[in-house]
């Protein structure tokens, strides 16, 4: 018989590459959940995910009302894609989502970064994406530890019980 050895999770690196509310919050909630469990967490934002740590955009994230099959009208009827394309609809739906999250004590992005870093979590930006979008450290939230390369990211990923999660 082989002996089963449990290796508890010790460290997670979470990569966020999209700017939708749901993609960003999935990463934030997982990172915050990790530090609350005593698991070391590092968040790495790349491509459009950089919006979530860019001062100018971080608290203005949207969800997509076009081409999103999970979107439904209140009551459960399908949400027509063409309706989602009307100006203002996406902003309204996004505001509603944020309100619902606030009721569950899920904070705005900047406050969420406060919570994660208060627990020892670390926030990083991807160098290539930052270069591409012409962003410097000054454009990014003060919670951002550094702008790093993918090599730096892998260098942080060592150790037993480490997982990399791409949301």
């Amino acid at each position: 018989m082989t002996e089963v050895k449990e290796t508890p999770l010790k460290k997670v690196l979470i990569i966020v590459a999209k700017a939708n509310i749901e993609d960003v919050y999935a990463g934030l909630i997982m990172a915050n959940g990790a530090v609350m469990e005593g698991i070391e967490a590092k968040l790495f934002f790349t491509f459009f995910g950089l919006d979530a740590i860019t001062k100018k955009y971080m608290n203005k994230l949207h969800t997509s009302t076009v081409g999103n099959p999970g979107m439904r009208m209140p009551g459960g009827l399908p949400f027509p894609t063409l309706l989602g394309a009307i100006p203002g609809v996406e902003a309204g739906v996004s505001a509603m989502m944020k309100k619902q999250m606030d009721e569950l004590d899920v904070p705005p992005v900047d406050e969420f970064l406060d919570m994660i870093t208060a627990g020892g979590g670390e926030i990083y930006a991807c160098k290539m994406a930052a270069d591409m979008f012409k962003l410097t450290k000054d454009d990014l939230s003060d919670h951002v530890e550094a702008i790093i390369t993918v090599g730096d990211l892998y260098a942080m990923s060592g150790g037993e019980g480490t997982q990399i999660i791409f949301t």
Binding site: I29, N32, G33, V35, M36, E37, G38, L104, D105, V106, P107, E111, D114, M115, A118, G119, G120
Partner: protein, 103 residues
């Protein structure tokens, strides 16, 4: 469910060590639970525990954000008081059920 002797009293606890009956709680039980995890409870710790017990009794869903806004301590302080489990450990020592929220 299991029985455990804490501070000279036999109480029912869950597999993870949370009190089954909130009413069994006492400051001494809290201190002994914390000691098992290597934490010495101070007045600040008890303030947090009292707050959690009060909120839980009122039916609130507990989150670290709420505790951070309670005025007792901020979130960083909460992590320092209960290392590795700001909400899980504090809930355990407060004698209330394991937190069921994701934040």
């Amino acid at each position: 469910m299991a029985e455990k002797n804490l501070a000279g009293k036999t109480v029912e606890v869950t597999e993870e060590g949370y009190l089954v009956n909130t009413g069994d709680w006492s400051k001494e039980i809290a201190a002994e639970m914390a000691k098992e995890d290597g934490i010495e409870l101070t007045d600040k710790h008890y303030e947090v525990l009292d707050y959690l017990r009060k909120e839980q009794a009122a039916g609130a869903t507990l989150t670290i954000r709420k505790v951070g806004k309670s005025g007792i301590t901020d979130i960083k302080g909460l992590y320092q008081l209960f290392p590795g489990g700001p909400l899980k450990l504090s809930s355990k020592y407060a004698g209330i059920p394991k937190p069921a929220s994701c934040v």
